[in-house]
């Protein structure tokens, strides 16, 4: 078994008296899609914030390529190759595709800050990187506000990959999208997976989406891992049961019927 790119061991995160994560283990392998599932409040968001350097864990260790690593800031995590695509995508609608793609990391000639941007080169890179994972934008100078939700998602993913993400954390990328665009995002995930050098952590509420693209699953409930495994080790019904936080679907149906 290959070394996981990132390994979380026994991560505990407390906010005062509240324990958000209670000893979570997670292995993330390059070239795999790892679905992270769980109900609202299960601790998914806290877990990705720990991985992306926003929160420091109260206990436990993060290993990157086998080495114990401490992230003091989101920047440290980015340097370690962990790219997070949040739900709001960190994209500015009034700015052009290229200006968004290189926001904060512009290519320039001259001193930092006052250097003149290499617009032509940046336009080309933005176009090519987005084409690689599936969309051909006709005009990189168009404002992002004119693009669809799926296209924006692709922009954010392409940007994270271009700037060296080896682990791509996608926080509910398919929510708030139409059916067709959801499929577009899943296709993008598959294309990223096919590159083989990038690990994807795919956070979702949607079991069908996770079954379409995931290689490995981790289920969280109340801050703990209640189930984990590879795709072929888990039954469909088992996935559904774990999705619901471990409760039997039949019990839920019964409860609903009783009302």
């Amino acid at each position: 078994m290959a070394e996981p790119y990132v390994r979380l061991e026994n991560i505990v995160k407390r906010f005062g008296p509240f324990t958000a994560l209670n000893g979570v283990n997670l292995d993330v392998h390059s070239g795999e899609v790892h679905a992270l599932l769980g109900d609202n409040g299960a601790g998914k968001s806290t877990l990705i914030k720990v991985m992306s350097g926003v929160h420091a864990p109260s206990e436990g260790t993060i290993y990157v390529e086998g080495k114990p690593t401490v992230f003091n800031s989101p920047r440290d995590a980015t340097v370690a190759g962990i790219g997070t695509v949040y739900q709001d995508l960190a994209i500015n609608p009034l700015m052009s595709v290229t200006r968004n793609f290189f926001m904060g990391r512009e290519l320039y000639k001259g001193p930092r800050g006052l250097g003149i941007m290499k617009m032509g080169e940046m336009n080309e890179i933005a176009h090519d990187e987005m084409l690689k994972i599936g969309i051909d934008i006709s005009d990189p100078t168009q404002a992002v506000g004119t693009m669809s939700g799926g296209q924006r998602q692709t922009l954010a993913i392409a940007r994270a990959i271009h700037f060296g993400a080896k682990v791509l954390i996608l926080d509910e990328p398919t929510s708030a999208l139409g059916q067709k665009q959801q499929m577009g995002v899943l296709k993008t995930i598959k294309k990223v997976r096919k590159r083989g050098d990038i690990a994807v952590i795919f956070i979702t509420h949607n079991e069908i989406h996770s079954q379409l693209v995931a290689d490995r699953y981790t289920f969280l409930a109340l801050g703990q891992v209640i189930g984990a495994g590879k795709k072929d080790e888990l039954e469909h019904n088992e996935i559904r049961r774990l999705m619901a936080g471990g409760a039997e679907m039949r019990d839920l149906e019964q409860e609903l019927a009783d009302i």
């Binding site: 609608p93 009034l94 700015m95 926001m103 904060g104 250097g115 051909d136 006709s138 506000g145 004119t146």
Partner: protein
């Protein structure tokens, strides 16, 4: 159908369509209309040799401060202290030139008076910016505090040292100091000489009428040129847009949002100081009331120039067109005898409202609202 992808839905536009969607388009159209109307209504007097000089004088004043205000607005903040900063800077320079340097350091030269003042105004700009970014309060309120506070400090200092809130009759430093000429002197003399040589620019006795434009015209052009290059070509320009559009997104991508904002508050202070220096060295006077309401005119010009109130969008060139429009209308009363000067304010109010609606429309079109 299967060949059709999502990018096909974005219609390719003609060059003309692209031009009219640029942020400068609206303010350019307004400027042309105003230019033509005033030229006709004044029988061409507004555009003769003296008219051009006088118009450009006030246009440059507007333009210098509006450019600074516009950059700050693109980054999503306001500075209401510009007017008081002009009064403060003018007071500071004139006071040093009249009463000598502070702490008994001897006589002031235009050079030392300007740079000591600039150090103070830049510090004040830094302070306003730092309070805004540290506290997270609205820049509207923080700079409003400085609007009152700075004006008060200016008046108090005047009375304490000078016993009067104005200084007049300073010696004409332009005659002795090259540095004073840079701000208060004339520019484009060659243009007027050339016009004279070609048979224009004559007064009633057939001599050369106007010798040149104010030096501040050059300052305005410099400010516009530098601001244009910074905003549309440099890395900082991208940071300014990013900061104003959505500062959390910008921050998440590594844009130094706070430094951008503080730097831009210092830029408006710099523009106010240039404005004041041109005034002091041109007229050799200073007055505690100088610059009153200029901050609001600067914001109005920026909005008419196509800057969004919400930030993240706009162009320096559009603001230059806006400054031309406002300057022409502010001066119109001198060339059109039958018009009441207060129509200037009526015009400002009407154009401002129209511009806000137009800008909102542009914003919605970009973000997909229309």
């Amino acid at each position: 159908m299967s060949d059709r992808n999502e990018s096909d839905r974005l219609q390719q536009e003609s060059t003309f369509q692209r031009l009219i969607r640029r942020p400068e388009a609206g303010s350019f159209a307004v400027m042309v209309v105003v230019l033509v109307l005033i030229a006709f209504a004044s029988n061409g007097n507004a555009m003769n040799a003296l008219g051009i000089k006088n118009n450009l004088s006030i246009i440059s004043q507007f333009g210098i401060i509006a450019t600074g205000a516009a950059l700050l607005m693109i980054a999503g903040e306001f500075d209401l202290s510009i007017g008081s900063m002009i009064g403060f800077a003018g007071m500071s320079m004139a006071m040093m030139l009249k009463w000598g340097l502070p702490f008994g350091l001897g006589e002031a030269t235009p050079f030392s008076a300007f740079f000591i003042t600039l150090a103070m105004t830049l510090s004040l700009g830094w302070l306003i910016g730092t309070i805004v970014v540290r506290s997270g309060l609205s820049s509207f309120i923080v700079s409003l505090g400085f609007l009152f506070g700075l004006r008060g400090v200016t008046e108090v200092t005047f009375r304490l040292i000078n016993q009067s809130t104005q200084i007049s009759g300073l010696q004409d430093f332009k005659e002795t100091s090259f540095f004073a000429r840079l701000f208060g002197g004339e520019s484009f003399g060659w243009f007027y000489d050339l016009a004279f040589a070609l048979g224009f620019n004559l007064n009633r006795r057939g001599e050369q009428w106007v010798t040149g434009l104010d030096a501040r015209v050059v300052w305005w052009m410099l400010v516009v040129l530098i601001a244009y290059i910074i905003l549309s070509r440099t890395q900082i320009g991208n940071w300014i847009y990013a900061t104003g559009d959505n500062k959390e997104s910008a921050r998440a991508n590594g844009v130094p949002v706070n430094r951008v904002k503080v730097g831009l508050f210092m830029t408006t202070a710099l523009c106010a100081t240039i404005f004041a220096a041109c005034q002091v060295f041109d007229t050799n006077t200073a007055d505690a009331a100088k610059g009153n309401l200029k901050e609001l005119e600067a914001i109005a010009i920026a909005v008419v120039g196509g800057i969004l109130m919400t930030g993240g969008f706009g162009s320096v060139i559009g603001v230059a067109f806006g400054a031309v429009t406002f300057g022409l209308v502010a001066n119109a009363v001198f060339y059109i005898p039958w018009i009441d000067g207060s129509f200037y304010r009526v015009f400002v109010g009407a154009v401002l409202l129209a511009a806000v609606f137009a800008n909102e429309r542009i914003r919605k079109r970009i973000t997909g609202g229309i």
